[in-house]
């Protein structure tokens, strides 16, 4: 009951405490834990039985004694105080302001777990977002309301790419975004880098930040993205704003989840991650989208580093099964000096099909993108062959493919961090690199489009 504190625990093990159940506590609800020096932490009820309660503590449990700790049950879930005045504010990983100002004035609270969106209440996302990055706009188009993660590796420029998207993302209608940024277990300099990006592009007052940095207790990371998405849902679905959410780094989040699961002695599935990792991630990613009752939207860009660059690792794998595509960064391109090193083939935007074409981007977009994918895939095969038999031995056609691949990487994929290309520029560039192939090779493109858009220059010009 609120206001009533119970003293004494049965056991403490890592972030989980067990105490005797002495009143009606609700599963999943919030507890407040006070340690012997009076420091208060929050926790969530994991399991209740006739005699005992298990509580997961979102804070360090170092120094918790079984005798001198007291617990208060709050009779509700963890909630976030919401208001449009969240914009411009900085919170910690548990949703408490850390920028030195008081909480925004509001009596509105929202459960940070949200509620699952009814599929028949969703509005299908199909508005094109121009990020100004050719590899995204042209090949893996981002759509308003989409969840499109960046799969990266350590040392790859995922943060710079995310920052570029944040600076440049525009809708055709010129409507702008507000931003929600959640940092989980990242270093201070990464957070600093993003804050600077927001400052420089003059949007700081339109950003809500939740920072649970590397030095915060790892279990806090389980809460951080939920606070961020609760803020986003309030702004999008109740205040009709277009919200862009950046979550970094999801790998740290998943590791916290694994930690808890192993402490609880659950049967692991792959690599020690709990069997419910998929459902748990879905409970975050599925909070992106659009609903029919509001004009707002939530576009999610989760960032994750693939352990050992392995895309089949459970974290990227399960993420890819839930999100609507993925932008994969590739070390090989990065080492060639190509920025952004967006891998040509494994990247995908599943919502692209409905957001491009006449009236949205341009009539040639679908065919052009499909042709570029096909040609680049052929290039990769030719490169493998060239590595074995030598370039000189290749047929003329295969040599054309090598030139194409090279131009595609250096002219189309590659651009500077400040270069903001319009979709027309991107598509024109795509056509330009295709001139390195004979016309008969463009079998994925309709003839009238080739006629209209292919520059009339000879091959290799």
């Amino acid at each position: 009951m609120r206001g009533l504190e119970f003293k004494g625990l049965q056991s403490v093990e890592g972030p989980i405490i067990i105490l005797e159940r002495r009143e009606n506590v609700g599963y999943g609800e919030l507890a407040r834990i006070r340690d012997r020096s009076g420091v208060v932490k929050v926790g969530r009820i994991l399991e209740v039985s006739d005699s005992a309660v298990a509580v997961q503590v979102f804070g360090p449990t170092t120094g918790l004694s079984t005798e001198e700790t007291s617990v208060e049950f709050l009779g509700k879930s963890l909630e976030l105080r919401v208001s449009v005045d969240m914009l411009g504010r900085i919170y910690d990983g548990l949703g408490r302001p850390i920028d030195g100002y008081p909480e925004p004035f509001s009596s509105e609270f929202r459960d940070i777990n949200g509620i699952p969106i009814n599929p028949s209440a969703r509005a299908y996302p199909q508005d094109f977002i121009q990020t100004g990055v050719s590899s995204i706009d042209g090949m893996n188009t981002l759509i308003r309301g989409q969840k499109l993660p960046i799969f990266s590796g350590s040392g790859l420029p995922h943060n710079r790419l995310a920052a570029q998207i944040i600076r440049q993302a525009r809708l055709k209608t010129e409507e702008s975004f507000v931003m929600v940024f959640a940092a989980m277990g990242v270093k201070y300099d990464v957070a600093r880098f993003f804050i600077q990006t927001f400052e420089e592009s003059g949007v700081l007052s339109n950003v809500v930040m939740f920072l649970s940095l590397a030095d915060a207790p790892s279990i806090e990371r389980l809460i951080t993205p939920r606070c961020a998405l609760t803020a986003a849902e309030y702004l999008a679905y109740e205040k009709n704003m277009h919200v862009l959410v950046v979550l970094t780094d999801m790998t740290n989040y998943c590791e916290a989840l694994r930690e808890i699961s192993s402490i609880r002695g659950e049967i692991p599935s792959r690599k020690g991650y709990p069997g419910y990792l998929y459902s748990d991630l879905a409970s975050l990613y599925e909070r992106a989208g659009k609903v029919k009752t509001s004009t707002g939207s939530i576009t999610q860009i989760p960032i994750l580093t693939m352990p050992n660059d392995d895309i089949s690792h459970p974290i990227p794998d399960l993420t890819g099964y839930i999100t609507e595509g993925q932008i994969v960064l590739e070390r090989e391109l990065f080492q060639k000096g190509i920025y952004p090193p967006v891998a040509g083939l494994p990247s995908l935007s599943r919502l692209m099909k409905d957001g491009i074409g006449p009236g949205m981007t341009r009539e040639d977009h679908k065919d052009l993108a499909s042709q570029l994918f096909a040609a680049y895939s052929r290039t990769k095969q030719v490169r493998n062959l060239a590595a074995i038999i030598g370039e000189e031995e290749l047929s003329t056609l295969d040599k054309n493919y090598l030139t194409f691949g090279d131009r595609f990487e250096r002219e189309f994929l590659s651009q500077s961090e400040t270069e903001n290309r319009s979709i027309e520029q991107t598509l024109d560039l795509g056509w330009k690199v295709l001139t390195h192939l004979p016309r008969e090779e463009l079998y994925r493109i309709k003839e009238d489009l080739i006629e209209k858009y292919l520059p009339k220059t000879p091959i290799g010009r």
Partner: protein, 584 residues
């Protein structure tokens, strides 16, 4: 009614005591909100219950009510076109009532109980109503007849009363049996019990999907079972959507099991706009959706598969051909694993419970083609997506599924990366229905079997050559082998690849499928003779007919197959010239 008290809560698995008189698999109302749950284990007076709704806030001491009935669905007119969650709560109605989020504890009726249906009786007072004998009929949609039978779990007997032709709601009885039982236009049926039929039949009729690689190379029969395994983004969902849109089933039950919400929204948005080429009606008029998306309660995900199959059986029993798309059976297996873990059962492989294969077998066994109790022929085709972790087919769900299905449409990561869609591998896939369906296809085109075998052989040879090409390059091969590579490319680009977005290409009638493939093989056979007569490959490669053949799929609509003549004449002209030149 039995009332118990909650003594333990561990996520969606709870325990309650005082339930000694409740039965295993009874459905319960749990907690103050009356959440729907199902008893999955009994031990003394303690029942272990899985809860189908979010139970945050549930407390020890709250009550649990059992009405002594198993978890059931309501069957009757009005199912078509609706979208339900895993326990048959209508999501469209929930949205109207509670807004965009799915709140726990909301009570709804699966069917519109007020709507009046026009009922035409076939029986009269004094008639004996036996199993499978239609009592009467309701017109469910403009083209769907919905016969009303004695529910298979009711006793046969003499009709004491039959209501006259007229309109009735689902709450009004339309007949009364001699023993006093009232019959309505709807009845409920426990989801875990298969519905009865008279006997199983062979499967000589194809389920035409309009997808060339499937229909020609890896065909499925009406009543057959198929799995589509593939890593993320390889096209499982797109393939299932394409089949749901274009296949020649009468009814589609689409089960979104633990997948994306937007994909269900996509169906809701797109299907009403698409017209069935056979009936001209919107395909939503033959579709029922079950949506238990990844963020919805996991226990209801487990049951959604059974809910879907039971609805399918209901329409099968009327003599319809039903096709089930289950996307994805892996998420269902994971739900089993999660619940099993919470029950602290001993896991078998990768944490999955040891009864996983049994459950998979039970599910796929509910498919099949049968003679119904009435004596009609009906079928359920089951097409299940499988999502193997890391795209590795050696994992338990893929492996066990393989034991119970007869069509395996393996999606290939490399094909998907090259945007070769559908990314169905012609090397790893198989169908065991080819022989059974030979009769059908030979009626479409006498050359079907020959063409199919020839083309498959060509592709196999190409695969072997590709190994060599990887090492020494294509130029080192003789021209006859390079012709194989050229023609295999024509098959891949002009036949196997099929865009779901191209208005002409997205669906091919069987005649068109065979025509395209036959033309490519004719090209190959004649070109081979020309090359053997001494012509260099270059002469053939530069023929304009190649591009024409490859573009036929999107340039020749299903209704204008006569346009093929133009391509054929071009082929005759161009190859004829070379044949003359090289005196073939």
């Amino acid at each position: 009614m039995v009332e118990g008290r909650i003594i333990r809560i561990n996520g969606p698995i709870i325990q309650a005591d005082g339930l000694a008189r409740a039965g295993l698999y009874d459905v319960v109302e749990a907690g103050n909100l009356g959440l729907v749950g199902e008893i999955i284990r009994m031990n003394g007076d303690v029942a272990t219950i899985q809860i189908y709704e979010d139970n945050t806030g549930m407390k020890v001491g709250e009550r649990v009510l059992s009405h002594g009935e198993p978890l059931s669905v309501l069957l009757g007119p009005g199912l078509i076109g609706r979208i339900y969650d895993g326990i048959q709560r209508p999501l469209d109605e929930l949205f109207q009532r509670t807004g965009f989020g799915i709140a726990p504890g909301v009570k709804t009726q699966p069917l519109d109980m007020e709507r009046k249906w026009f009922f035409k009786p076939f029986c009269k007072k004094g008639d004996k109503l036996e199993r499978g004998k239609p009592l009467g009929i309701v017109q469910e949609t403009d083209y769907l007849q919905h016969p009303i039978y004695l529910p298979p779990n009711r006793n046969e007997g003499t009709l004491a009363e039959v209501c006259p032709e007229g309109t009735y709601s689902l709450t009004e009885p339309v007949a009364r049996m001699g023993d006093g039982t009232e019959l309505f236009l709807c009845h409920s049926w426990p989801v875990r019990n298969p519905r009865p039929y008279r006997e199983r039949l062979g499967m000589e009729e194809p389920l035409l999907t309009g997808q060339r690689v499937i229909d020609v190379f890896f065909p499925i029969s009406k009543g057959g079972t198929a799995a589509i395994p593939g890593g993320f983004g390889t096209g499982k969902t797109m393939t299932q959507h394409a089949i749901a849109k274009w296949c020649d089933a009468d009814i589609i039950v689409y089960i979104g099991c633990g997948e994306r919400g937007n994909e269900m929204t996509d169906v809701l948005r797109e299907f009403p706009e698409i017209h069935d080429p056979r009936t001209g009606r919107s395909i939503m008029e033959r579709t029922i959706l079950i949506a238990n998306t990844s963020n919805m309660p996991v226990a209801a995900r487990e049951v959604s598969i059974y809910t879907g199959v039971t609805l399918a059986e209901y329409y099968r029993d009327m003599g319809y051909n039903v096709a089930i798309m289950a996307d994805s059976t892996s998420r269902w297996a994971e739900a089993l694993r999660e619940l099993s873990g919470r029950l602290e059962e001993m896991p078998a492989e990768e944490g999955f419970p040891a009864y996983l294969p049994t459950r998979l077998a039970e599910f796929y066994e509910r498919g099949g083609r049968v003679t119904t109790l009435e004596g009609k022929k009906g079928s359920i085709t089951i097409i299940g997506a499988v999502s193997p972790p890391g795209g590795d087919f050696s994992e338990p769900v893929t492996q066990h599924t393989k034991r119970f299905i007869r069509c395996f449409w393996a999606l290939d990561r490399d094909l998907a990366n090259a945007r070769h869609y559908p990314a169905i591998s012609w090397i790893d896939s198989y169908s065991e229905y080819g022989e059974e369906l030979r009769g059908f296809w030979e009626k479409v085109n006498a050359d079907w079997a020959a063409t199919r075998t020839e083309a498959m052989e060509l592709l196999k040879r190409e695969q072997r050559l590709a190994q060599i090409v990887k090492l020494i390059g294509p130029d080192a091969l003789p021209d006859t082998s390079r012709l194989v590579l050229l023609c295999a490319d024509m098959i891949k680009n002009g036949f196997l690849q099929q865009s779901a977005f191209d208005p002409v290409d997205m669906y091919s009638v069987p005649e068109k499928q065979v025509i395209i493939l036959r033309l490519i093989m004719d090209f190959y056979n004649r070109a081979l003779r020309i090359i053997r007569a001494g012509a260099p490959l270059l002469k053939l490669r530069s023929l304009s007919v190649i591009e024409r053949i490859v573009r036929m799929k999107s340039q020749i609509p299903n209704e204008k197959l006569e346009l093929v003549q133009e391509v054929k004449s071009l082929l005759d002209r161009e190859l004829g010239d070379l044949e003359k030149e090289y005196k073939v």
